[in-house]
């Protein structure tokens, strides 16, 4: 109960305190978020599959339950811990900005919604929290409403995640009417009772929702655009928590959903496409945060792949690792941006000398991303690649893994080790360090939590293959001058990638079409009262007829 309610109270309190007492406001924000994290950690050993909290909301909506089982508690711990670190980081990053009460309140609401989402046992409640999470994300992206890029990024994020929301809504409604209950446990336990068409709708609806929320192809364009948000927001929402909501959805229901025709293959395909696309885009991108955004898309693709080949533990484990090192990377990027005032890779360089702590932590994160032993990324990634699955998929994943190493090397070198130095840079101030260092340590050590399961990675031959992919990626970077011939041949790919593979163009076409259609439909608003009444009547009788046709329950 505390876990669910705390962040809400925190949000309200912070907002109420407002901007008049900045220090107490900041202190409250930190206090509430860390309290949430602590409670979540404390609950971990006591995970249970039965609902502990139940609100009855009337016959139509069933019970709103909260079920703190293992998956849920792990995710809420991740969300609240990284959230707390992001809040601490924000103390320095956002210093001097106005409207911070709104910022911290939104962060806390976001944490609350995320915690609620993973803990929710009722499908309808899940939907509610899903939407709240999407809303907070949009509001935080557009935290500076006077920046047009930020606003358009926020709107695009909202539209795409809402399309996913439709998928979730359809799935939830069909599940509810077919099973007669809106508890998630009912879906998991009795899923086989769903008829084939119903199951298809539920499975693909959930998949669409997960793709949109986790920025997978073809719903991935909002994530790079969301980088207009303040960096701690990006760290929290777009790397460590919200985008995991999609994976969470799939993880929780995959036992049932994998029975739907072609579903697992679809998940794998989406994962592969996103991994490759993200990898290539990260390689050509000229903006530090966008590289990280594409990297997130790519890593989430790996997670989707893991879900598709039915390796839930591996997926969860990598989700943990990814949240930690990606959060770390984003916060480091935040430190860099804060210090130098720019995000463009062209203008950054040689920061190793000026920002040693940030460099060290970033390198740790990048190495984990690339899958270098013995950081957490290595263990979890190898674990996924170890699992049995279709060979063509594994091969593609290996290529994606090499790409990952490649772009990780690129961005690290470009930002920190290139010799052309940036004009002004200072190392990270205290609060940022407080956030960065624990994350770096966690990156190095978090794999120990699942030691018993992952010991096999050491002895599996597949590990060697994975390692060599990583090495290959690093090697390509190192010898890039000598490989210039090859890169020249691939110039077409670079051009395509710079145009984001045509996805934004497609969206532009769709949007123009929608607006045009809406303008033309305006002609039906005649403004005549009697016709409006007649239309209401017709609509009502249509509804009654449909209900009568469907049979009265």
């Amino acid at each position: 109960m505390c876990l669910v309610g705390l962040p809400w109270i925190g949000a309200a309190t912070v907002w109420w305190v407002g901007d008049t007492h900045p220090r107490s406001r900041n202190a409250l924000a930190v206090a509430f978020s860390s309290a949430t994290a602590l409670v979540s950690v404390a609950l971990l050993p006591r995970a249970t599959s039965s609902p502990i909290l139940k609100f009855s909301v009337g016959g139509a909506f069933g019970d709103f339950t909260f079920v703190p089982d293992e998956l849920a508690l792990w995710m809420s711990t991740i969300a609240s811990t990284i959230g707390t670190l992001a809040v601490i980081f924000s103390l320095d990053y956002m210093r001097g900005e106005s409207g911070l009460a709104r910022y911290y309140a939104l962060l806390l609401v976001f944490m609350a919604a995320m915690v609620g989402l993973v803990l929710s046992g009722s499908l309808l409640l899940l939907l509610v929290f899903w939407e709240i999470v999407g809303l907070c994300s949009c509001l935080l992206i557009a935290f500076h409403p006077d920046q047009p890029l930020a606003v358009s990024g926020a709107i695009r994020a909202l539209i795409q995640t809402q399309i996913g929301g439709i998928g979730l809504l359809a799935g939830v409604l069909v599940a509810r009417t077919s099973l007669g209950s809106d508890q998630a446990s009912a879906l998991v336990l009795n899923g086989s009772a769903l008829s084939a068409p119903a199951l298809t709708i539920v499975a693909y609806g959930f998949l669409v929702a997960a793709c949109a929320k986790s920025a997978q192809v073809p719903f991935h364009t909002w994530l790079p655009g969301a980088m207009e948000a303040p960096t701690p927001v990006s760290a929290l929402i777009h790397a460590a928590t919200m985008v995991n909501a999609g994976v969470y959805l799939l993880l929780r229901f995959s036992p049932v959903l994998s029975a739907a025709a072609g579903w697992s293959q679809m998940v794998i395909l989406v994962g592969l496409a996103s991994s490759l696309l993200g990898g290539v885009m990260a390689l050509v991108s000229a903006d530090l945060k966008r590289v990280l955004a594409y990297s997130t898309i790519s890593q989430l693709g790996l997670l989707f792949y893991a879900v598709g080949i039915n390796a839930p533990f591996a997926a969860q484990f990598h989700m943990l690792s990814h949240a930690i090192f990606k959060g770390l990377l984003f916060l480091c990027a935040g430190a860099v941006i804060h210090a130098t005032g720019t995000r463009e890779l062209d203008r950054l360089g040689g920061l190793a000398r000026r920002m040693p702590i940030v460099t060290a932590t970033f390198v740790v994160g990048a190495l984990a991303l690339a899958g270098v032993p013995f950081l957490n990324g290595f263990w979890s990634k190898e674990l996924i690649l170890d699992q049995p699955g279709p060979e063509w998929a594994r091969l593609t994943m290996l290529i994606a893994s090499a790409l990952t190493a490649l772009y990780a090397a690129r961005v690290t070198w470009l930002v920190f080790f290139r010799t052309d130095a940036t004009a002004r840079a200072h190392d990270a101030p205290v609060a940022m360090r407080v956030a960065l260092i624990p994350l770096a340590v966690a990156t190095a050590l978090s794999w120990m939590v699942g030691w018993s399961e992952i010991a096999e990675v050491l002895t599996s031959p597949a590990t060697l293959v994975g390692l060599s992919a990583t090495l290959a990626g690093g090697a390509v970077w190192y010898w890039r001058d000598r490989l210039a011939v090859v890169t020249g041949r691939l110039a077409w790919l670079r051009a395509a990638a710079l145009a984001d593979f045509g996805f934004p163009r497609l969206e532009q076409l769709l949007t123009t079409f929608a607006i045009g259609a809406a303008a033309r439909l305006q002609a039906t608003q005649t403004g005549r009262l009697s016709w409006n009444l007649a239309a209401m009547f017709t609509g009502l009788s249509l509804t009654l007829a449909v209900l009568a046709y469907g049979g009265l329950r």
Binding site: R528, S530, W531, A534, F537, T538, L540, S541, L542, L544, A545, L547, A548, Y549, L552
Partner: protein, 174 residues
């Protein structure tokens, strides 16, 4: 038999009220519709409803319509219909057919046993709150009519006669 006749006559009167071009005739036929409906209701074992419908529909509403027609400068009124007939009839028919379909499907529901609840009891004790609501509604209606027809008190300021005004007038006139 009589009930059927009454109902048919009611329908015809209603059709006439809509089709007839003059406003006054419309009002009269509306009153006739009410009266015939009241007859049908009485024959359908609903005497109280019949009396209320008769007095209200055929009396109050008819009188009001006549007054408004006169007050709004009515009388004979001929205008082209908003929608041509050949469009309006099918469009009106669609929801009706849908409803007929819905009703047909619901007739399969079982008919429960006859309840012995008396009308008065139903009206006042079981649905007493409803009766209260109706009273409030009537009062609100009366007040709103006063406002609508007479205008808000601010619009019609009452003249204040006192010595100062007449003095001013004298000065102005002088």
């Amino acid at each position: 038999m009589l009930t059927t006749l009454a109902l048919i006559a009611c329908i015809l009167a209603a059709a006439g009220a809509v089709r007839i071009p003059g406003l006054l005739g419309s009002g009269i036929l509306l009153a006739a519709t009410s009266a015939l409906l009241a007859l049908a209701l009485y024959l359908l074992d609903a005497p109280v409803v019949a009396i209320v419908e008769l007095s209200v529909g055929a009396g109050l509403v008819a009188v009001l319509f006549t007054f408004s027609v006169v007050g709004a400068g009515g009388g004979a009124y001929r205008a082209r219909p908003a929608l041509p007939r050949w469009i309006a009839v099918p469009v009106a028919a669609v929801p009706i057919l849908l409803l007929a379909f819905a009703l047909a499907r619901t007739r399969e529901l079982a008919h429960p046993a006859l309840s012995t609840l008396g009308f008065v009891e139903a009206m006042w004790s079981q649905r007493g709150l409803d009766a209260l609501g109706q009273v409030v509604l009537l009062l609100v209606g009366a007040i709103s009519v006063k406002v609508l027809v007479g205008g808000l008190p601010r619009e019609n300021p009452v003249e204040v006669r006192d010595s100062t005004t007449s003095e001013l007038h004298d000065e102005v006139a002088a």
